[in-house]
């Protein structure tokens, strides 16, 4: 059963790939990026990209290997001094640990819950559209507002969370004031905010799936679990990878809600790399050290995103 689906797909794709029609060939020649004629049209976009993306990155790179002073002067090239200082600093390793913790916990829970919720949302039930619209509210609310809202909810004495727990006889939880609990509380807020977004992408993916393989599986007598695991998930994988990739990039540079809710505390328990870098630049006034941190973060984001893209490419083959 499983083998039929891919071969069916490739069979239908083959004629197109094998025998390109003349109009296609002409089009391909026209979009050749080395052609001179195209340059004037692409150049403005290239320049804008360079100015807005490349220049800041190159400048940050330069800052990270030099010694910029808070007054704007630069004492000159330092080489890898800032990086050496960073790797020797336990605060950096703690920040890396916190970043990876939040990344793994949030991503796993959001993906699993997103799959379940996405499946429910893909069913044709009355009121589906209204429900879908409501689900989007957390994702389109500014993170600062989300942080402030949850800060009120999680207040240990006056907040709603503990009052609700108290009403059913559960002891109050110190949501943000305990270094062991605070990272989980932050993860909870992120999961609340972003699971619906995952679910929406996934439900759209599920609704776009072809029905034939599922019908075939039903005829062959496969159990619903087996159908979901062996047919649904593999077919959903491209959609899932995109959703995971989007969340990954956001989670590795996690900043906004944390900065509003805990500023990285208590005792650095929620100090992610991005919060740490921000503190270094704007509170401790160490712009070059902060630049080294941000470059490391950039490498981390590119590394993890690259890994996903590579895995995806390998599967596609």
């Amino acid at each position: 059963m499983v083998t039929t689906t891919p071969s069916a797909v490739s069979r239908s794709a083959q004629p197109e790939r094998g025998a390109p029609t003349p109009p296609q060939r002409r089009r391909r020649r026209r979009v050749d990026p080395t052609a001179r004629g195209i340059l004037p049209f692409v150049l403005p976009a290239l320049l804008a990209t360079a100015a807005l993306v490349l220049v800041p990155i190159v400048y940050t790179l330069w800052l990270s290997v030099s010694d910029r002073q808070p007054d704007g002067t630069n004492a000159g090239l330092l080489g890898l001094g800032n990086y050496r200082e960073m790797f020797a600093n336990p605060e950096f390793w703690n920040a890396l640990r916190v970043t990876i913790f939040l990344f793994v916990v949030c991503l796993v829970v959001e993906t699993v819950l997103g799959l379940v919720l996405g499946y429910v949302m893909s069913l044709d039930v009355p009121g589906r559209r209204i429900f879908q619209g409501m689900m989007l509210i957390p994702a389109i609310t500014a993170s600062v507002a989300v942080g402030l809202l949850w800060l009120l909810i999680m207040d240990p004495t006056l907040g709603a969370a503990n009052q609700i727990l108290g009403a059913v006889g559960i002891d109050p939880v110190v949501w943000l004031g305990d270094p062991d609990i605070a990272p989980w509380s932050i993860a909870l807020v992120d999961i609340w905010q972003w699971t619906p977004f995952m679910a929406l992408i996934i439900s759209a993916g599920i609704r776009a799936l072809p029905e034939e393989p599922f019908e075939a599986a039903a005829i062959d007598g496969a159990s619903p679990w087996r159908t979901a695991w062996n047919i649904g998930l593999p077919l959903l994988r491209p959609v899932l990878t995109v959703a995971i990739l989007l969340r990954t990039v956001d989670l590795v540079r996690f900043f906004d809600t944390i900065y509003i809710m805990t500023q990285g505390g208590p005792v650095d328990a929620t100090n992610t790399l991005n919060v740490y870098g921000y503190r270094a630049a704007f509170i401790d006034q160490a712009p070059s050290y902060a630049a080294a941190l941000q470059i490391t973060l950039l490498v981390l984001v590119i590394g993890i995103a690259g890994l996903f893209t590579w895995l995806r490419g390998r599967e596609a083959k």
Partner: protein, 431 residues
Amino acid sequence: MRRYLTAGVVLAMAGGLLVGCGGGDAGGSSNEINLIMSNHPWQRAIEPLIPEFERESGITVKVQTFAEQQMRDKVQLNLQSRSSAMDVFMALPSREGPQFAKANYYEPLDSYVSGAADYDAEDFPEAVRAGMVVDGKQVAAPINVEAVVLYYRKDLFQEYGLTPPTTLDELTSTAAAIKDRSGGQVTPIALRGQSAALPFTFGPFLHSRGVAWTKEDGVTPNFDDPRAVEAIDQYATLAREYGPDGVVNNTFTQSSALMAAGNAAMMLESSNEVSSIADPKTSKVADNLGVVAFPAGAAGSRTTILSWGLAISSFSQKKDAAWKFVEWATSAQTQQKLTESGIAPPRTSVAGSEAYTASLDTDLLTEWNEVLTSAQTTGSTEVGPVGVAAPEMRKIIGDAVGLVILDRASPAEAATQIQDGLAPQLAKNEG
């Protein structure tokens, strides 16, 4: 021809980008200044008065207000990028003075002050003026005075048969009595636990024992002194045993909210907070509040006092207009008007004026004024260790005391951690 056209378009677009980058800097007409303020009782009191200044001077004041930490971020962003888009800002020289002065962020005010005929700078008390000076230059003009004081609930103290604590030992025993007699229903004391904010209220525990942050030389930390260990122990015990849940994440906002909601019997906070807990519109306990001086230790009652100031950015291109605003905002006349909104006046002439004393029309405000006046002669102006790395040093102290509050380190271990952590930061002062 077409190639030139293309080149022209590209140049125009690049030019547009560059202009876009610089656009924010030009900042309005020559008679317009930008003021950045923190959400603070002083800001709420001065804002309604600004139109008066605009009418008199013909200068337009564009005001931006942010929560305290966001204001710092905004100010730093303007200063680090050497932007002229900010002319005047609320400054805390006790915190960032040496750091900002070293980076040449402040426009020195000395020549402006000496050139202003009616300003009367001598009217500010010596301690307040000294707090605005870094490396012999005046970097800001004082706008208020605040000190750490002890608020308490008169009704609860009466119910439990207690009197407000006058010594450090009594502070802990009173907290214990409240916990005991309320059956754990009332938080005995609300105080700060958030690391960056904690040194302000922790300092008095140190100073009242006769210990300064550093030794005489200014570069050796004083946390190898056994009395510093005692101070850490007492503060952490108060917070852990008698403070609110989740205290390590608390600063003045949470403490005042607890007090105003009637959940706390005592609160160790800035004298400023009187405006948020004594307002019947926001506070359930406005009629039952009392305030006393910080409890005395072996060296007497030595609280922390600080003043916020108004500073002019050295990158401002409208410094004369900026000074006119600073001069007006810190004049005796304006400060007199600000007292009507509960702002403690730094100027001696205003603090002693009949109009001001007559405005203190409740027991709470009378007590509050007495406590604040005496704090100005006995208090310490060092909110944390003084130096270019002041924010970092406060975090080191706050984190270490936080670990003791959480019962993850002993007071002695925390003291060692602070001693070792501060030394390299203080050494930066000599560089």
